[in-house]
C-alpha cells in the first residue's frame, strides 16, 4: 500500500510543476466544451436566399416579405432572371434561389395556380433538405392563408388531422442533443491522451526501467497512474457538467449522482484505454498518434455522436458495440434529456464496466517488468 501511495503522490508533485499541462487538462476541456457547444448546432437558421423576381408586383413583394420576416431565412439579394441566381449558388453566397416568374401576380389574381421554382444548392444535402422543408412549409402556409382569406367557406375539412407531438425536446433544440455528446467527447479526448502519455513518458526518460528494477508490482504501476488521472477526470466531469447546465441551460432531468457515478466508470474506460496504448508504444509520438488516429477518430465517427448508428450498415453497427463512447452517449443523453435511471441504463453501465475491466487487465498484462 505504501508503494501505491508514493506512486500517486509522485504524479501529483510532477503535475504541479507542469503548469502548461495542468492548463491543458483543466482549462482546455471547459474552453472546448463552451466553443463547441455553441458550434454544434444542426438547426438551420438564417438560410441565405436569393430571389429572382421576374414579376415585380405587389403580390411577389408580399411573398418575398414573408421570407424576410421568417427567422429561418435571410434574403441576401434580389435579381430579375434565373441566370443571375447562378453566381450566388456557385460561390455559396446563397443556398436557395427563389424564382418568381413574370405574370405571377396576375395569375394569382385570376385564381390560376402558379408554380415557383426553388433552386437549391445540393452540396450540403442535409441542410438543403431541411431548408427546402422550411421553404415549402413557408410557401404552403402563405398559400393556405391566402385561400382562407379569400374564401373561408370553400375550405373543406381534411380526412386526417395530424397531431404531432415531440417528446423530450419539444422545442427541438438541437443543442440539448449535441452538448451532452460534446461533453462525452471532450472527456474522452482529454483523458485518453493524458493516460497514453503517462507511461510512455517514463519509458522515454528511463524512470520506468528504474521502477521495473524495484519490487513494485504491475498493478501498482497502473493504479498509480489511474488514481491521480482519475481524480482529474472526475474534476473535469464536474466542470463540464456545470458548463452544460449553467451556461448552456441544458436541462438535467435525471439524477446527477447517477451521472457522476457512471462517468466514473466511463473515465476508467478511457484512462484504461490510454494506459493500454501507453504499454504498446515506445515513444510519446507513437502513443499520441496511435491514440488519436487509431482510436479517437474512429470513435468520434462511429459512436453515434453525429452520425446516427441506425443509418450504418449492419456490419459496422456490430463494430460500434466495441466503442465505449457509444454507451456513454446513450447514458449522458438519456440522463440529460429523458431523465431515465438505472432500470433502463443498466445494459450500458454493464457494457462500460466490462469494457473498463478488459482494457485495464490488458494494460496490466502488457506492462511487463521483464522483456521476453
Amino acid at each position: 500500500m505504501q508503494r501505491l501511495r508514493v506512486l500517486v503522490w509522485k504524479e501529483f508533485v510532477e503535475l504541479r510543476l507542469n503548469p502548461r499541462l495542468f492548463g491543458v487538462v483543466i482549462v482546455a476541456p471547459i474552453m472546448q466544451l463552451t466553443l463547441l457547444g455553441y458550434a454544434a448546432s444542426t438547426d438551420v437558421k438564417d438560410v441565405p436566399v436569393v430571389v429572382a423576381d421576374g414579376d415585380r408586383s405587389v403580390a411577389s413583394r408580399e411573398l418575398i416579405d414573408r421570407f424576410e420576416a421568417s427567422r429561418n431565412f435571410s434574403v441576401i439579394g434580389s435579381v430579375t432572371t434565373v441566370n443571375e441566381i447562378e453566381p450566388y449558388l456557385e460561390t455559396g453566397g446563397a443556398w436557395l434561389g427563389l424564382v418568381i416568374p413574370a405574370g405571377y401576380g396576375r395569375a394569382l389574381a385570376n385564381g390560376r395556380p402558379v408554380t415557383l421554382q426553388l433552386a437549391a444548392d445540393g452540396t450540403d444535402a442535409n441542410s438543403t433538405t431541411v431548408a427546402l422543408g422550411y421553404a415549402t412549409a413557408l410557401v404552403g402556409g402563405y398559400a393556405r392563408d391566402m385561400v382562407e382569406a379569400s374564401a373561408p367557406s370553400h375550405a373543406a375539412p381534411a380526412a386526417i388531422d395530424p397531431r404531432i407531438r415531440v417528446w423530450f425536446n419539444p422545442q427541438l433544440e438541437s443543442r440539448h442533443f449535441m452538448i451532452p455528446g460534446v461533453l462525452a467527447l471532450v472527456l474522452l479526448v482529454v483523458t485518453v491522451n493524458l493516460a497514453a502519455m503517462a507511461i510512455v513518458r517514463e519509458k522515454e526518460v528511463g524512470t520506468l526501467e528504474q521502477l521495473n528494477v524495484t519490487p513494485v508490482r504491475r498493478w501498482e504501476l497502473i493504479a498509480g497512474k489511474l488514481l491521480p488521472y482519475g481524480l482529474i477526470g472526475m474534476i473535469d466531469v464536474l466542470l463540464v457538467v456545470a458548463v452544460a447546465v449553467f451556461w448552456f441551460q441544458v436541462p438535467l432531468r435525471g439524477s446527477f449522482p447517477l451521472l457522476f457515478g457512471i462517468s466514473a466508470i466511463y473515465i476508467l474506460c478511457t484512462l484504461g484505454l490510454g494506459l493500454f496504448i501507453s504499454t504498446i508504444s515506445d515513444t510519446q509520438q507513437q502513443a499520441m498518434m496511435t491514440a488519436t488516429f487509431f482510436f479517437l477518430m474512429p470513435m468520434i465517427y462511429l459512436s453515434g455522436f453525429v452520425f446516427p448508428i441506425e443509418n450504418m450498415p449492419g456490419v459496422i453497427q456490430w463494430v460500434t458495440y466495441l466503442i465505449p463512447l457509444r454507451y456513454f452517449l446513450v447514458v449522458v443523453r438519456g440522463i440529460f434529456l429523458k431523465g431515465i435511471g438505472m432500470e433502463i441504463l443498466w445494459p450500458q453501465v454493464a457494457a462500460l464496466a466490462g469494457w473498463g475491466t478488459v482494457v485495464l487487465s490488458l494494460a496490466i498484462v502488457r506492462s511487463r517488468k521483464r522483456l521476453n
Partner: protein, 310 residues
C-alpha cells in the same frame, strides 16, 4: 557462496546473439568490472542479471536467487543505477529520496536515517529542495547512486555510471564505490572508461558477446608478460608508426592519445635499438621507454585478436 554466479548466459535477439555463453562468478564485497566497447553485450548482461530481460538460455544466480525463475525475488536484493541516472526531473532531491524510499518500503525511522546518509554521501546536504533537473552531472550521478542504495542492498549493479561526468566527479564517485565495497556490498559495474576499471578487484572483458578475458587486473595484464610495451612520443607520430610497424621486433603499434604504444614480439628487442632506428630515419623522438601495460592495451589486444580470428 558467490554473490553472483553466471553459467553460459545467452541472449539472442532474432538472429543476432548479443550475449554468447558468458560464465563468471563474483564474490561477496568484490568490485567487478565489466568492460567492453559499445554493443559488446555489457548492458544486455546486466539487464538480464537485474531481471529486466529474460535470458535465452543459461542460468544466473544473484544473491542465491535464480534470475530466470524468480526475477522479482532478485529485485528485492539488488540496487540498480542506469546510464541515464533515472531520476524524476520534476521532483526535488528530497522528494526523489522519499519516493524511492517508499517504493522499497522503508519505514519512517529507517528512511530518515538513510536519507541523512545519502545526502551526506552525495554532498547534497542543504540542497534538498533543488529540482533534480537543475542538478549538474556529478550531483545527479551521486543522487542516483544514493537512491539505488536506500534499502541497503547487498548487491549493486551500475551500468556505465560515469558517462558524461567530469573527471573530478568520476574520481569522487569511485571513492564512494570503494567505501561501499569495504562495507561488504558486491558491486558489478560496466564501464568503457578503462582507466577507471583499474580500480576494480577483478575485471571481465566482453567482446562480440563473448567473455574474452577475466581475472584480477594484474592477472589480466599477464597477457603481456612476454611482450613488453614501449611508449614513444615523437614529433611525427604517423611516420614513426609506419616505421615501427616495418621493424621485425615489433608486433603492432597503436595510438594512445598523443603517444604511440608499440607491442614488442618478445623481450629480446631492446628499447635503445628502436630509438636508434627512429633517429636514424630522421624522426625526432621526445621520449621512449618501456611501460607497464594498461587495461587499454589489454583491451586493444583482445579486440585485435578477435578481429583477426574472425
Amino acid at each position: 557462496m558467490s554473490a553472483i554466479e553466471v553459467r553460459s548466459l545467452t541472449r539472442k535477439f532474432g538472429q543476432f546473439t548479443a550475449v554468447d555463453g558468458v560464465s563468471f562468478e563474483v564474490g561477496k564485497g568484490e568490485i567487478f568490472g565489466f568492460l567492453g566497447s559499445n554493443g559488446a553485450g555489457k548492458s544486455t548482461t546486466i539487464r538480464m542479471l537485474c531481471g529486466l530481460l529474460r535470458p535465452t538460455s543459461g542460468t544466473a544466480l544473484v544473491g542465491g536467487v535464480d534470475v530466470s525463475r524468480d526475477p522479482e525475488g532478485v529485485k528485492r536484493r539488488i540496487g540498480y543505477m542506469s546510464q541515464r541516472f533515472s531520476l524524476y526531473e520534476l521532483l526535488t532531491v528530497d522528494q526523489n529520496i522519499s519516493f524511492f524510499g517508499g517504493i522499497y518500503g522503508l519505514d519512517r525511522d529507517t528512511l530518515a536515517r538513510r536519507r541523512t546518509f545519502v545526502l551526506e554521501m552525495a554532498g547534497l546536504a542543504g540542497r534538498e529542495s533543488s529540482l533534480a533537473r537543475d542538478l549538474a552531472g556529478g550531483w545527479r550521478q551521486r543522487l542516483a547512486l544514493g537512491c539505488a542504495i536506500l534499502h541497503q542492498p547487498p548487491i549493486l549493479f551500475l551500468d556505465e555510471p560515469t558517462g558524461g561526468v567530469d573527471p573530478l566527479s568520476r574520481r569522487q564517485f569511485w571513492r564512494l564505490i570503494d567505501a561501499l565495497s569495504s562495507d561488504g556490498v558486491t558491486v558489478l559495474v560496466t564501464t568503457h572508461y578503462l582507466d577507471e576499471a583499474e580500480r576494480c578487484h577483478r575485471v571481465a572483458l566482453i567482446n562480440g558477446g563473448r567473455l574474452a578475458v577475466i581475472g584480477t587486473v594484474a592477472e589480466v595484464k599477464q597477457v603481456f608478460a612476454s611482450r613488453p610495451i614501449v611508449e614513444i612520443r615523437a614529433a611525427r607520430p604517423v611516420e614513426a608508426m609506419q616505421l615501427l610497424d616495418a621493424m621485425p621486433g615489433v608486433e603492432k603499434t597503436s595510438l594512445f592519445g598523443t603517444a604511440l604504444h608499440a607491442v614488442l614480439k618478445n623481450t629480446d628487442v631492446s628499447v635503445e635499438e628502436l630509438a636508434r632506428k627512429l633517429r636514424d630515419a630522421g624522426i625526432v623522438v621526445e621520449s621512449i621507454a618501456a611501460v607497464q601495460p594498461s587495461l587499454e592495451d589489454v583491451f586493444l589486444d583482445v579486440v585485435d585478436k578477435s578481429g583477426s580470428a574472425a
